[in-house]
């Protein structure tokens, strides 16, 4: 008799990435059909789905003179464009040239041209993200010296020309950022969340002396753009996050009045930001912009959490931590969050790992023997 309740079966496929050093980031394009990887070997690679579940390497090039930290795709409306940022203090914009519509299988490697090199930063550029497409072609970078830079391509046809629109000093080291993807420009002004990985001891002092007006020990800052003043201003600092932040991500908005922000810090946090109407926002003279609520804090990784990511609809959150696990979190209908799956590294058994070739077959993942799961029948 078969199992009736074997829910959540997963299968996996192994791809041999062939980077000469550690991989730092993997990013899918808008459709999930292309994948870009970047590594400490200073190379960026682009992989294309062959339509049958397999992945083909279609481009590989040396992109920077230092470790490439992050790679990100622009909306396909702007063409096949990626941005990278690196330890070499630059961020770069790359565009694929040639007919991208023709299927990759009959062609060899694709050509990616460097359209622009953004050299404003004096320290390592730690993160780079394209803005939501309804704002035009925007790019934001952040660097280890704590400066957020927002660039705009005024002419989307000309990716060589980027103007530095805003430079926002934060005075703390910034490790990651995320755009709020809300499409409703009327109710939600353009919004960015940035996370700091500044160690706590120095930060406390730095904040007190340099930033008295917004004295706050939090590590997550919210910036919003005001149409009237044409400036980005810090509208909130999340006091609930006190530990260094490694990653953060806004969930898709889905027409909600509030925003959900996932934060990777010493645990996985999900924070709800509810904008407060202007009239009722005055509190002790200072404007309080958001009602902030930590809706979930998962300690399950028992260690530092490095990455968080939402699926397309924002129903599943993946997190990875120092415990060698990737966990999936899902919101149940009563808005409670539950862990639905854990992906674990098999404990090293001593023998050397078998060499792997890129394969197109998915194999079902073995579930760990768990006495709580008795087979039925």
């Amino acid at each position: 008799m078969g199992e009736l309740t074997a829910t959540n079966l997963f299968e996996s496929q192994t791809i041999f990435a062939d980077h000469k050093d550690l991989i730092h980031d993997v990013a899918y394009d808008f459709y999930g059909e292309r994948m870009a990887t970047c590594s400490s070997d200073q190379y960026v690679k682009v992989w294309d789905s062959d339509g049958n579940g397999g992945w083909r390497l279609t481009a590989s090039w040396k992109a920077h003179h230092g470790s490439v930290w992050k790679v990100t795709w622009a909306h396909p409306e702007f063409g096949q464009v990626i941005a990278t940022c690196s330890f070499d203090r630059t961020a770069a914009i790359w565009e694929e040239v040639g007919d991208t519509a023709s299927s990759g299988s009959e062609k060899g490697l694709r050509t990616w041209l460097k359209r622009s090199n953004l050299v404003d930063s004096r320290t390592s550029v730690t993160d780079v993200k394209f803005g939501p497409k309804h704002l035009g072609l925007l790019l934001v970078t952040c660097s280890a010296d704590g400066i957020i830079r927002i660039y705009e391509a005024p002419d989307v046809m000309n990716l060589a020309q980027w103007t530095l629109q805003h430079e926002i000093p934060t005075k703390v080291s910034i490790s990651c950022l995320s755009w709020n993807p809300s499409l409703s420009r009327v109710t939600h002004p353009p919004m960015l969340a940035v996370g700091s990985d500044e160690p706590n001891t120095t930060n406390a002092a730095a904040t007190v002396q340099s930033d008295k007006a917004t004295a706050c020990n939090g590590k997550v800052f919210i910036y919003e753009y005001s149409e009237t003043s044409r400036r980005w201003t810090r509208t909130d600092c999340l006091a609930s996050v006190q530990e260094p932040v490694n990653d953060l991500a806004f969930a898709p908005n889905l027409g909600r009045s509030f925003h959900l922000l996932a934060v990777a810090t010493k645990d996985v946090r999900i924070i709800k930001l509810e904008p407060i109407a202007e009239s009722s926002g005055a509190n002790n003279g200072a404007m309080v912009r958001f009602k902030v609520e930590v809706v979930a804090a998962f300690e399950e990784h028992y260690s530092c959490v490095w990455r968080v990511g939402w699926n397309v609809t924002g129903t599943l959150l993946a997190s990875s931590g120092d415990d060698c696990c990737v966990r999936l979190w899902k919101m149940q209908y009563l808005n409670q969050w539950k862990c639905v799956a854990v992906f674990k590294n098999e404990p090293a058994t001593g023998d050397s790992p078998p060499l792997c070739r890129p394969s197109t077959t998915y194999t079902r993942l073995a579930a760990m023997a768990n006495p709580a799961h008795m087979p039925f029948h």
């Binding site: 008799m1 078969g2 199992e3 009736l4 309740t5 829910t7 959540n8 079966l9 997963f10 299968e11 496929q13 192994t14 791809i15 041999f16 050093d21 550690l22 991989i23 730092h24 980031d25 993997v26 808008f30 459709y31 999930g32 994948m35 400490s40 992945w55 409306e77 063409g79 330890f87 991208t100 519509a101 023709s102 299927s103 046809m157 490095w306 990455r307 699926n311 609809t313 993946a318 990875s320 060698c324 990737v326 966990r327 209908y333 009563l334 409670q336 862990c339 799956a341 992906f343 674990k344 590294n345 090293a348 790992p353 998915y362 993942l365 073995a366 579930a367 760990m368 768990n370 029948h377």
Partner: protein
């Protein structure tokens, strides 16, 4: 499986059990991972390190793991189930809409039966496929699908009896017996065989007594009596006594003209009679007949003794209710279920839990259990939806607020989103999402605009579906992306066409690309489109200009030089032409200036001269001189001609 706090555990999907742990393959040596989401439930796990030291570790792990959910519903053989149930689901939504004004219980029952017949067809298909399948592994998985859908049908049927069907007088027994007979047919074939052979002395058959008892337990009293007659001692007093007892058993019928009270009295009287016959020990010599008598007086120990002959307690549930409380109403079955389930210390199966929860009327728990079936939520979604529409589902959270609709919505959203991942079932998924506002359409937007559009035909299909559900943002987003791709591929006509569809500023970009290309290579793309574009032309100045310019070409080609000339002059004087196009525009006047018949009036010529001087930078010296010459000559001859004209007019 969580059973300890039965019924108390609030519904949280798979929450009660700890999350499953999966092991990454190939003995990945890395300690740290990153993760990135792709489309749908696909994501990638990659080894990474946070340390930025220069020394490269010896054992460098460089593999990516693409992980995706294994979705049973995407098995080709189950496609029909997904498609057909979608049709029924949509009819149900319509029926629910209609039932707001009038009671529609009959319609719901019809649709519930429709669902069940879809499941049954599916199970039959699976059985057929399994019997043909040679490969052991594939056969195994088909078998497990059969188990899954068989259980689903069984639960759905019981649900239908208990919550959807309109049972007269609420007396559930006949329906319950029908359910048992249908889903747990036991001894039926033996009984039919014995009756067909119709030989005295049938007790020779090893299964004879089991069959007779089985028929009694299933409530098929007539069959049992017929079988008893086939016993070689069938004419003896003992047999006659039992036969008599079985024959005289009162059967309740709502339309029988007697009240439940009266029926209860006659029933109790009949059982007392049976009990006295039993205690008179006349049957002592026939232990099997004695067993039958003990069963029909509802003796717990008798049922307990036969329990081991059946694989589950469902088999005897019908008999137990029949011989202990035949007047049971729908909501009174919990105790019977508990009694039957308690007869043997069998390990509880998942089906047990579901049936128990159903009979206890704990729908909350039922849905909780149903969600754990690995059918990717097909059953949970459709069952919850129909129960919700029938008004039978009440789920309260810890603050006692009614969250039923949230539960239903979340299941439908989840199911719809899942189907959106499939390359041909996505439109089905879309219909689920669209039926569940406000979040459904928002999710549909996100998923639909991320639908890979490899071909124009696919793009058209996506757009058609988006329009059907009023997702205008998707229409423009998809058109823009296809437009951008066509343009990158140098197919400017296509780009223009998609830009017009998108009704967006992207059109300006495409139009500009067209003009640039024309200025460089002189071939205007998509002329037919531009000439018939209509109001779409108003999207941007550049596009409008391109359209007008195209129209000029048409007029010129059809040798309507006067009209062409007028249009060209208006294009020049309106000054909407982009800078890079001035040269082309001015040079276009040359052949008209040089034509035999004067085309431009003297005023036009002045205007052109003015523009030429204002834009002198856009023309090279030699070309400008040529223009000036042509303009001067044209001015001369038109001035003369016009002078004549006014004179003539004056005469």
């Amino acid at each position: 499986m969580n059973t300890s706090n039965f019924g108390l555990e609030p519904l949280r999907g798979k929450a009660s059990a700890p999350a499953k742990t999966f092991i990454l393959p190939d003995k990945c040596v890395s300690k740290h991972f990153g993760c990135a989401w792709g489309q749908g439930n696909k994501f990638t796990i990659y080894p990474r390190s946070q340390t930025v030291n220069k020394s490269t570790p010896k054992a460098l792990d460089n593999r990516l793991f693409n992980v995706r959910q294994d979705v049973l519903l995407f098995t080709p053989i189950l496609r029909k189930l997904v498609n057909e149930s979608n049709g029924t689901f949509l009819s149900l939504q319509k029926a629910a809409e209609a039932s707001k004004t009038n009671d529609n219980q009959v319609e719901f029952l019809k649709l519930s039966r429709q669902f069940r017949s879809i499941i049954r067809v599916c199970t039959e298909g699976l059985q057929e496929a399994a019997s043909k399948e040679e490969d052991g592994l594939a056969k195994n998985s088909l078998q497990s699908y059969i188990t899954i859908f068989y259980s689903i049908e069984c639960i759905w049927h019981l649900c239908e009896i208990l919550f959807i069907d309109n049972i007269p007088g609420d007396i559930v027994l006949p329906y319950l017996l029908e359910w048992v007979r249908f889903h747990f047919p036991c001894h039926e074939q033996t009984a039919a065989g014995l009756l067909e052979a119709c030989e005295r002395g049938s007790e020779e058959n090893a299964e004879y007594w089991d069959t007779v008892v089985g028929m009694v337990v299933q409530g098929r009293v007539d069959v049992a009596r017929a079988l008893l007659k086939l016993h070689s001692a069938g004419e003896s007093n003992e047999f006659k006594l039992v036969d008599n007892s079985l024959r005289s058993m009162p059967v309740y019928s709502v339309y029988g003209g007697i009240s439940t009270g009266e029926f209860t009295i006659s029933w109790k009287h009949w059982q007392a009679e049976c009990r006295s016959k039993l205690s008179s020990r006349v049957l002592a010599s026939q232990p099997n007949l004695e067993l039958i008598m003990r069963i029909i007086i509802g003796d717990y120990t008798a049922f307990e003794s036969i329990r081991s002959k059946y694989s589950s307690w469902f088999d005897i549930l019908g008999g137990w209710v029949l011989f202990t409380a035949p007047w049971s109403r729908r909501h009174e079955l919990g105790a019977a279920a508990a009694a039957c389930a308690g007869m043997a210390p069998a390990p509880r199966s998942h089906l047990d839990d579901m049936v128990r929860a159903l009979l206890e009327g704990d729908l909350h728990q039922v849905i909780h259990e149903v969600q754990q079936i690995s059918d990717n939520g097909w059953f949970a979604t459709h069952l919850t939806d129909i129960l919700y529409h029938c008004g039978k589902l009440k789920v309260l959270d810890k603050h006692q607020t009614n969250v039923t609709s949230r539960l239903r919505d979340s299941l439908i959203l989840e199911y719809g989103s899942l189907l959106m991942e499939h390359k041909s079932l996505w439109s089905v998924g879309l219909s689920y999402l669209a039926s569940c506002p406000p979040e459904g359409p928002r999710r549909a937007e996100l998923l639909l605009e991320r639908m890979p559009v490899e071909t124009e035909a696919k793009a058209m299909r996506v757009i058609a579906e988006a329009k059907k559900h009023g997702l205008t943002s998707v229409v423009s987003s998809v058109s823009r992306c296809v437009c951008a791709r066509a343009q990158a591929g140098g197919r400017l006509g296509g780009a223009l066409c998609w830009a017009a569809r998108a009704l967006v500023a992207g059109a300006a970009r495409a139009a500009r690309a067209c003009l640039t290309q024309y200025a460089a290579r002189a071939a205007l793309p998509a002329q037919d489109l531009l000439l018939t574009a209509g109001s779409a032309m108003l999207l941007s100045d550049t596009l409008l200009f391109l359209g007008k310019y195209c129209d000029f070409h048409r007029l010129y080609k059809s040798r309507e030089f006067k009209k062409a000339g007028q249009l060209l002059v208006s294009l020049i004087t309106s000054k909407i032409a982009p800078d890079y196009f001035w040269e082309t525009l001015l040079l276009d006047t040359l052949p008209l200036l040089e034509s035999d018949e004067p085309v431009f009036t003297s005023n036009d010529t002045y205007e052109i001269m003015l523009c030429l001087e204002l834009r002198s930078s856009s023309l090279e010296g030699e070309k400008a001189d040529l223009m000036r010459l042509a303009l001067a000559r044209n001015l001369a001859r038109t001035s003369l001609a016009e002078g004549d004209g006014t004179d003539e007019g004056g005469q």
